[in-house]
């Protein structure tokens, strides 16, 4: 088995578990009593350890193991949740992330591991005494048979050994209670049923999950008992564990007042057993608990590499282009039969295109998820108190957009915390809540998705912006005087503008808001700012729902950029004007033994010729059908990914242009329709 094959799966799955760790730790910090979260973290760390171990990633495995040990203590209630332990766990998670992305940047892993270990040791001894006290009240995983004196007496009076039988039914079992009844009935022939968990009357009312436990007393062996249950249908798994602790009860030496302790003994034992089970079942675990990890791993989804989706999308895009070509044949030759047949085809291709687009839609929570952690860390660093509210995280956007908006959002949130929200003392003085509010929200608006970052901080002061804009030479005094207040605020998006005197490492980072603006515009979105001094600011980004991206080849004709779809390009040549011949009033060149007609894009696109004589004319050789044409441009820019925007052709006579494109730098180019430009 070649482990490299699993590399990708490992990467994406470990990513998931790291996310779970991050999320759960955050929740845990706010809700220290949340057992579910501790279990969640434990499972994630445990699984990571196992996965990394299998892959031979020894460092990841060891670090995860160290985390797991601490989480185990948290789970048992042996140590409490506090900032110290959370910070330590976060540090471990960060390093796990680094290990999987940039292993070279990991510093002093050994130090961290020993830090984790030493934490374990010190706290363990300190709280060892509490363990005893806590053990009765802790843990949701514990099965508490809660035996009465009578039941204990039955165990001690009767001969036979107590055992716990764990029955796991198949998860699509319909009448679980009937299966449980069949189990009880079968068992009764071999011994005494002391108690069940959940209680028998609850089981009869179908109040049970796939798994239930039975405390059973029998003189028979484990094997015979297991065999007796073997013939009952729909049982997934049977596990029988002998209870040694109860052995003492049968000696009869126990006094009444000691029974309490023994009960605890049983419970603890059962609990240990459960832990062991959890441990063993970790990988295939599909517990009834509706857990984070389960939600992430819904069974009815499959993982597909984005690249595959992209290539599917490209194929579909090409299909659409080809369809259009066939359609135009039908139209120009008036082939009614063909036109009729093409209608359903065109419907199907459009639907196909839409479904591929939909497949690429992912919830914005993928981006929003990182903010709770980021905000927490920043707030801690800057001694600010911040309440982050996230809304609309289920809003879906194209994968490409999701990938791209992360950094701009981080930048803006950092700004909001660094510049917007005031210190708690300052806020108190102003009569605001000590805790600043940052609201991150996403929602649909027509064909767009709007992403907003709101804060209730100090707002943007237009006076400061004016002053700075003039200083930085972003705008002149006379220009500014003609501007409205909101226009002035928008100046912070201008290139070369940064309001903060010293670029601090929180919000500065060497990039300004202009980078954010450029990025969003390159995704054919827009940025808007509203701000009121003393009340706060709102940054609104409007983004398109979907994006079509193609590989385009950029050229320049006069002062305008054009895109030629890459798939039609044969080669790029520099044509010497002396080599141009004229055949039947058409300009041609000889290329590899054939004659290639030349087309002046200036003529075709109604652009003024500069008039200057060039020694070499950059020419793009395109293939249309089986013919070659040379498109003469002014200059070649090169290959680039461009985002296609459809142009609404209301007049119906848009010729030679297939659509618009938005370039990486946010500027606009037109896509040349190669077929039309070569035939018209």
């Amino acid at each position: 088995m070649d482990m490299n094959d699993f590399q990708e799966l490992y990467a994406s799955e470990s990513r998931e578990h790291l996310d779970i760790l991050n999320d759960s730790l955050l929740t845990l910090e706010n809700d220290p009593e949340n057992m579910e979260m501790i279990n969640e973290c434990f499972r994630a760390a445990h699984t990571l350890k196992g996965m990394a171990g299998t892959m031979g990633f020894e460092r990841v495995s060891r670090l995860a193991h160290a985390m797991e040990n601490i989480l185990d203590l948290l789970r048992d209630g042996q140590i409490g949740v506090n900032t110290e332990v959370i910070n330590l766990l976060f540090k471990a998670v960060d390093n796990l992330e680094l290990l999987s992305s940039n292993p070279d940047e990991v510093e002093d892993l050994e130090g961290l591991i020993s830090e984790l270990k030493s934490f374990l040791e010190t706290d363990n001894t300190e709280t060892d005494n509490q363990k005893q006290e806590n053990s009765t009240s802790s843990s949701s995983a514990e099965i508490d048979f809660d035996l009465s004196d009578d039941e204990l007496r039955i165990i001690s009076d009767n001969s036979g050994d107590p055992m716990i039988i764990r029955i796991q039914l198949e998860d699509d079992c319909v009448f679980k209670s009937l299966r449980a009844d069949m189990v009880f009935e079968a068992l009764e022939e071999y011994g005494e049923l002391i108690k069940a968990h959940p209680a028998i009357d609850k089981i009869r009312k179908e109040e049970l999950d796939e798994t239930f436990h039975i405390l059973f007393l029998t003189i028979e062996s484990k094997e015979i008992i297991a065999e007796s249950l073997d013939n009952i249908s729909e049982i997934e798994e049977i596990e029988i564990t002998m209870i040694d602790q109860l052995e003492q009860l049968k000696d009869g030496s126990q006094q009444e007042d000691n029974k309490e302790d023994n009960q605890d003994g049983i419970k603890e034992d059962i609990k240990d057993l459960e832990d062991k089970e959890i441990e063993e079942n970790q990988v295939k675990k599909s517990t009834n608990v509706k857990s984070l990890s389960k939600r992430l791993k819904a069974n009815n989804t499959i993982r597909v590499d984005v690249e595959r989706l992209d290539s599917l999308m490209n194929l579909v895009a090409e299909l659409v282009i080809k369809r259009t070509q066939v359609e135009s044949v039908g139209e120009s030759y008036n082939l009614d039969e063909l036109n009729k047949k093409l209608k359903p085809l065109s419907k199907v291709t459009t639907e196909l295109q839409n479904s591929v687009m939909e497949m690429r839609m992912v919830p914005i929570s993928l981006v929003f998820n990182r903010f709770p952690r980021l905000v927490r860390d920043l707030a801690q660093d800057l001694d600010k108190e911040i309440n982050l509210v996230i809304e609309g995280e289920e809003t879906e956007l194209d994968r490409t957009i999701i990938d791209e908006i992360g950094d701009p959002l981080v930048h803006m949130v950092r700004n909001a915390i660094g510049h917007g929200i005031e210190d708690p003392e300052e806020r108190e003085r102003l009569g605001k809540d000590r805790e600043g509010l940052i609201k991150l929200s996403a929602f649909h608006e027509g064909n767009n998705v709007v992403v907003q970052i709101q804060d209730d901080g100090q707002g943007i002061n237009p006076e400061l912006i004016k002053k700075k804009a003039i200083e930085k030479g972003v705008a002149t005094l006379s220009e500014i005087e003609a501007m409205s207040e909101s226009e002035i605020i928008m100046l912070i998006l201008a290139a070369g503008f940064s309001t903060n005197e010293e670029v601090n490492d929180v919000s500065g980072r060497g990039v300004g808001m202009d980078v954010v603006k450029t990025k969003i515009e390159s995704l054919s979105g827009s940025v808007d700012i509203e701000s009121e001094v003393g009340k706060g600011s709102t940054f609104t980004m409007k983004l398109p729902l979907t994006l079509s991206i193609i590989q385009g080849f950029l050229i320049k004709v006069a002062d305008q950029k054009y895109v030629i779809p890459l798939e039609s390009i044969q080669e790029i040549v520099d044509v010497n004007p002396d080599d141009i011949k004229t055949i039947r009033q058409e300009k041609v060149i000889h290329r590899r033994g054939s004659v290639v007609p030349l087309i002046s894009l200036h003529d075709k696109l109604n652009k003024e010729e500069t008039g200057e004589l060039k020694r070499e004319i950059p020419t793009v050789i395109v293939e249309v059908g089986n013919d070659y044409y040379g498109l003469m441009a002014d200059s070649i820019i090169g290959q680039q990914e461009v985002v296609i925007k459809r142009i609404n052709d209301l007049s119906g006579n848009l010729e030679k242009i297939a659509g618009g494109a938005i370039l990486g730098d946010g500027s606009i180019a037109l896509i040349i329709n190669v077929e039309e430009i070569t035939t018209s």
Binding site: E170, D172, V174, F175, L178, D181, N231, I232, S233, E234
Partner: protein, 120 residues
């Protein structure tokens, strides 16, 4: 010789499906019956190793049929085929002597397990 099964169901579809599943698992469907009365008659005729018994049927329902079969042969092995909402009937069938139950819509795996549990 292959173990024999009597399939009882008033629906042709269910009989066909069960027959196919039973035969796929290496058992022989010795006959089919479309109601309880016929089931009892055919049981007496063939003495099969197993009966799959539908509950809701015309003339005589499955529960009555099980009772009659058990009266004739206390060792008879019967699997009840019930629908989702018929839990009380399943309980009753088990009380009168059915050995196992399967729930419709039936799943091949479950039928197989149930057959094997009783016949092997």
């Amino acid at each position: 010789m292959a173990k024999t099964v009597l399939v009882v169901d008033d629906a042709q579809f269910m009989r066909t499906m069960l027959k196919k599943l039973i035969e796929e698992n290496g058992y022989e469907v010795v006959d089919e019956a479309v109601n309880g009365q016929e089931a009892v008659e055919k049981y007496k005729e063939h003495n099969p190793d197993l009966v799959t018994m539908d509950i809701t049927m015309p003339k005589m329902d499955g529960i009555e049929a099980i009772k009659a079969i058990m009266d004739y042969d206390a060792e008879a092995d019967v699997i009840v085929c019930s629908a989702m909402g018929q839990k009380p009937m399943v309980v009753e069938s088990l009380e009168v002597g059915a050995k196992d139950f399967i729930v419709k819509p039936i799943k091949p795996e479950k039928v197989k397990d149930s057959l094997n549990n009783i016949l092997d």
